[in-house]
């Protein structure tokens, strides 16, 4: 199969008067890893829930594997795999029973189930744990089992909603390895994340989403290159005046004033530009205290396009966590 596995046109979704998804359009190509990168509350989960037919579509059009999400929900469901944000394994069933159950509810034959379970246990390195109860697995293993479960029916596309949230960096990097392996086997992957490095390391293409809108879409390299070749962080005795000077220079693409430093995007090779810049600023009687040069990262891309860091999202997350705790007490 070639072409687009997911096609979304002018999708909108509101909760009451709040627009969670605001006129979104995008496509996901066959065989790629496509990421939605954005803070919590940006509308990522809503889009995933609509595409997996868990939420009714309000406005716009969406097709998954060629099926209309609004009219052919059963066919859509048959052709996708889902890994939910929250762990949802049956802890009282073994690793292989969890997979067996999934195969059964998707009407796979006994022979198919047996073969697929063997393949998947091998893929996620849980062959030795097949008869272990799910509750006895580590967090990373549980997540891998959920991955395997999502792949049980050989879906055309696997949806992952924040697949590595709450994991330490080693576990996360291991998950990425498995996801790359799954991609190599030809499964299209759609994932949402608020981890910059996850989107950066894993995805063929990334859409940055904020306040229900797609801000920009492209490969990690494309997005970074759009920002310019290099990035300079400057700390001076008078940031405001220095910014003015920098903005007047042709080689400078943009200047952002942070609390302490200036972020300067350079369109040309920084090795030639930096001496000029320093000379110019010093010439105006401003002292330069620190200079730091780096290549633009996904963080820079995100800040550039949304005008804010992802930190806000993290704060939201903490608040939500506290609210949940409050309720359960």
């Amino acid at each position: 199969m070639t072409g687009n596995v997911i096609e979304v046109n002018n999708l909108e979704h509101s909760y009451g008067s709040i627009k969670a998804v605001d006129n979104i359009s995008f496509t996901v190509k066959h065989g790629e890893i496509f990421s939605f990168l954005g803070p919590n509350g940006a509308g990522k989960s809503t889009v995933i829930n609509i595409l997996t037919t868990l939420k009714k579509i309000q406005k716009g059009e969406a097709r998954v594997n060629g099926y209309d999400v609004a009219k052919e929900s059963k066919s859509v469901r048959k052709s996708i795999g889902i890994v939910f944000q929250m762990l949802c394994l049956d802890h009282e069933m073994t690793v292989s029973e969890n997979l067996e159950y999934h195969g059964k509810i998707y009407s796979m034959s006994k022979k198919e189930r047996k073969k697929r379970i063997e393949e998947l246990l091998k893929l996620i390195d849980l062959e030795s744990k097949r008869d272990t109860l799910a509750k006895e697995l580590s967090g990373g293993m549980k997540r891998r089992l959920e991955l395997a479960r999502g792949l049980m029916t050989k879906p055309a596309v696997l949806f992952l909603d924040e697949p590595t949230v709450g994991f330490d960096i080693q576990t996360r990097m291991r998950m990425w390895e498995y996801l790359r392996e799954i991609k190599r086997e030809g499964t299209t992957i759609f994932l949402t994340t608020h981890y910059m490095e996850e989107a950066d390391q894993l995805s063929d293409r990334i859409s940055i989403i904020d306040h229900g809108k797609i801000i920009v879409t492209g490969s990690a390299d494309e997005l970074k290159n759009k920002l310019g070749k290099d990035l300079i962080y400057l700390e001076t005795s008078n940031n405001k005046a220095a910014a003015e000077i920098l903005r007047s220079l042709q080689s400078v693409k943009s200047v952002t004033e942070d609390t302490k430093s200036l972020r300067v995007l350079i369109g040309e090779d920084v090795t030639h530009v930096l001496p000029q810049i320093m000379e110019k600023i010093r010439g105006e009687g401003i002292d330069i205290t620190t200079v730091n040069i780096k290549k633009p990262s996904m963080d820079d891309v995100f800040v550039h396009y949304t005008g804010h860091g992802l930190r806000e999202g993290d704060e939201n997350e903490k608040q939500q966590g506290m609210e949940v705790e409050g309720v359960s007490k």
Partner: protein, 277 residues
């Protein structure tokens, strides 16, 4: 044809046999009822009622056998009424997400859980009949083999219909309610009138007219009387009360239970189609 409900059934039964404590208590509970409550009550009731002359001339049935039918009804009532709780926990721990996100029709989820409850109810019914016979319950007295088989089949159909009805009811509550405490209190509240305004443990002939009227439509009464029709015969006397069951009676019990089960099914479907994940 879709058979997805079998997957749901498979999982329920797997877990029924896995949780040894649940398995053990659900098997031992009916035996305890019969052994302690049944023997104690039947001795004192029989002593009290032995002085009442049997005017009807119908064969006399002892209280233990009369109550045995009620114990089946009661035991099945409690296990099916609390049987839906599994759904509430599945929803709470988001286990239900996987199933609800799959192509399985929601009716199959209810049906699968319903059928697993019926299986458990059959096991309990057979334990009570088996143990009851062992301690001297007069079920199927004087029946031929063919008559016994027919009677057992009849009881199984009644028990199955009754169980489905109450499981659908408890499933609807479980899927609607958020916390275990709320579920517990609703079920306890429900089981009280069901249990006492019925003839499961004692005859309703001397009830006040209003309660007597209500109890006639209580599914528990329908089941207990239905079991008595099959297990004790159509004409007997117990504690001075003369019982005659006609074909019209047994048809009423069957139809009443079927009506009950179908009504509960429609409520369950309504609640299930509203579930959001």
């Amino acid at each position: 044809m879709n058979f997805e409900f079998r997957a749901i059934y498979w999982r329920e039964m797997l877990k029924f046999f896995r949780f040894k404590s649940v398995l053990f208590s659900s098997l031992i509970q009916p035996v305890m009822w019969l052994a302690f409550f049944g023997l104690a009550m039947s001795d004192s009731f029989d002593q009290l009622t032995s002085l009442i002359p049997n005017v009807s001339g119908a064969p006399v049935v002892d209280y233990l056998s009369y109550m045995g039918a009620g114990i089946i009804a009661m035991d099945v009532l409690f296990s099916s009424l609390f049987g839906g709780t599994t759904l509430m926990f599945d929803k709470k721990f988001s286990l239900l997400r996987e199933t609800l996100a799959s192509p399985v029709p929601r009716f199959h989820i209810i049906l699968g859980i319903g059928l697993s409850a019926v299986t458990k109810a059959f096991i309990q019914t057979f334990i009570i009949i088996g143990f009851g016979k062992f301690i001297g319950m007069d079920f199927f007295k004087g029946y031929t083999l063919a008559e016994t088989i027919t009677a057992v089949m009849g009881i199984m159909i009644l028990v199955a219909t009754f169980t489905l009805g109450f499981l659908f009811l408890s499933g609807s509550i479980a899927i609607t309610i958020e916390n275990p405490e709320g579920m517990q209190s609703i079920l306890t509240l429900l089981s009280m009138p069901l249990f006492f305004v019925s003839n499961a443990l004692y005859p309703i002939d001397s009830f006040p007219p209003f309660l007597k009227f209500l109890s006639m439509f209580n599914p528990l009464t329908l089941l207990a009387d239905g079991i008595r029709y099959f297990a004790l015969g159509t004409n007997f006397s117990v504690m001075g009360n003369h019982y005659i069951y006609t074909t019209a009676n047994i048809s009423f019990y069957f139809l009443g239970l079927i009506f009950f089960a179908l009504s509960m099914l429609s409520i369950a479907m309504w609640r299930f189609n509203k579930v959001n994940i």
